[in-house]
Assembly symmetry: C2
Homo-oligomer: 202 residues x 2
DNA sequence: ATGGTTATACTCGGATCCGAGTAATCGGAA
DNA sequence: TTCCGATTACTCGGATCCGAGTATAACCAT
């Protein structure tokens, strides 16, 4: 009952709806615009999905094809615009996404569940590497964010601030856990380390 | 190049592999066991996907059907066991998941990207509700975690600690942002609030 | 014994996802 | 002028995902 029977589920649809609030556009232009604005960091953007999503939005009546024009001899392009219904739904969808925390299943959470199987050394090594990579990612995003702040109002880069906070927490957790493993504070019951001695030797 | 061309992509496969390290099992029992242990908080578990994933793991040679027995007149059940290859792959998969932060696209991140469209009041209201829900979720998980700690070693409930940390960060961000909106600290450029006056009146 | 509920165990088909492919045009260098 | 690579614009089909459905059996009360 959280949010399942939504007509269009792919969040890329929200991005499309968002773009069309500004002006009509054809799918290829949507992709280009999203990438230009760096929104492909927040939305998973692939060509295939984009066209599927656009079709789904049209079926739902939230956007409508305006014209089907051929510029030169290139493949036809269909320009879409939002409908009044689409405008409403954009806001409703957004509102619900913000209000209700969705249960998601980040890969790392699943992996941590079986952390024990790597043994203390294996687990510490893996988490150390993750921490390093996280530091780099954070640095990159922070730099981009600062650059962006010089160009646009802060409201439009809030998502980067949120992402940074979360990643910093992940980093802190990884570092802390490595520390506990090294210090021996984290008890490691026997019989839970998966033995790979047979085909080791890399 | 992050981790795409993996033979089995659904993380539920990791859970299956994990269970089979302990003992052979048929799919229905896997589902039951995962739910019993509360692992369905970390892995998205649906019947349909489970059977698909088991088939995929078998195709890949990481697990193998042991026997196909009929107990009573109920539908046949096929018991699977991990193969040596499956044991290795379990560890390799786990290791990679831990080392390399995957780029995921949490729904909330996408939504925050368009926070502006709700206007200051709308955005604050939505985030306030989210904060409330997050507080309840956190309370629930914290209670469960404490109860679990009395039963099993901490190593086996680490994922709850991680999840709690992340959720607390999300909560803090939401609260802080509400605060800034209320205080007027967060500049709200005009022309970005989607107008829904036409069909309002709810 | 009859009926109702719960548990066992899996199948099915539609929806979705997405990378690789197709196909035409344009700009510029040789 | 002709070739090549980049750009524009979209299609296709296989893989995956998953909720709803099917079918039997065990348990219990009436």
């Amino acid at each position: 009952m959280t949010s399942s029977r939504r007509k269009v589920s792919n969040l890329l649809g929200l991005a499309v709806l968002g773009l069309l609030q500004e002006s009509p556009m054809h799918p290829h232009a949507m992709a280009a615009t999203l990438r230009e604005r760096g929104l492909d960091r927040s939305f998973k953007l692939t060509t295939g999905s984009l066209y599927d999503v656009v079709r789904a939005l049209e079926r739902a009546g939230w956007i409508a094809a305006q014209e089907t024009a051929r510029v030169g001899g290139r493949p036809e392009r269909t320009v879409y615009a939002h409908t009044p219904l689409g405008k409403e739904e954009f806001v409703r969808w957004l509102d619900e996404l913000l209000r209700v925390p969705a249960d998601e299943y980040p890969k790392f959470l699943s992996a941590v569940t079986y952390l024990g199987a790597l043994g203390p050394e294996g687990a510490a090594a893996a988490l150390r590497e993750r921490a390093g990579r996280l530091r780099e990612l954070i640095d990159g995003i922070r730099r981009e964010h600062e650059a962006a702040l010089a160009e646009v109002p802060r409201l439009f880069v809030l998502e980067a601030e949120y992402a940074l906070r979360v990643m910093e927490t992940e980093l802190a957790w990884a570092e802390q856990t490595v520390g506990e493993i090294e210090a021996g504070t984290l008890e490691w019951p026997d019989g839970w380390v998966v033995d790979t001695s047979s085909t080791k030797e890399a």
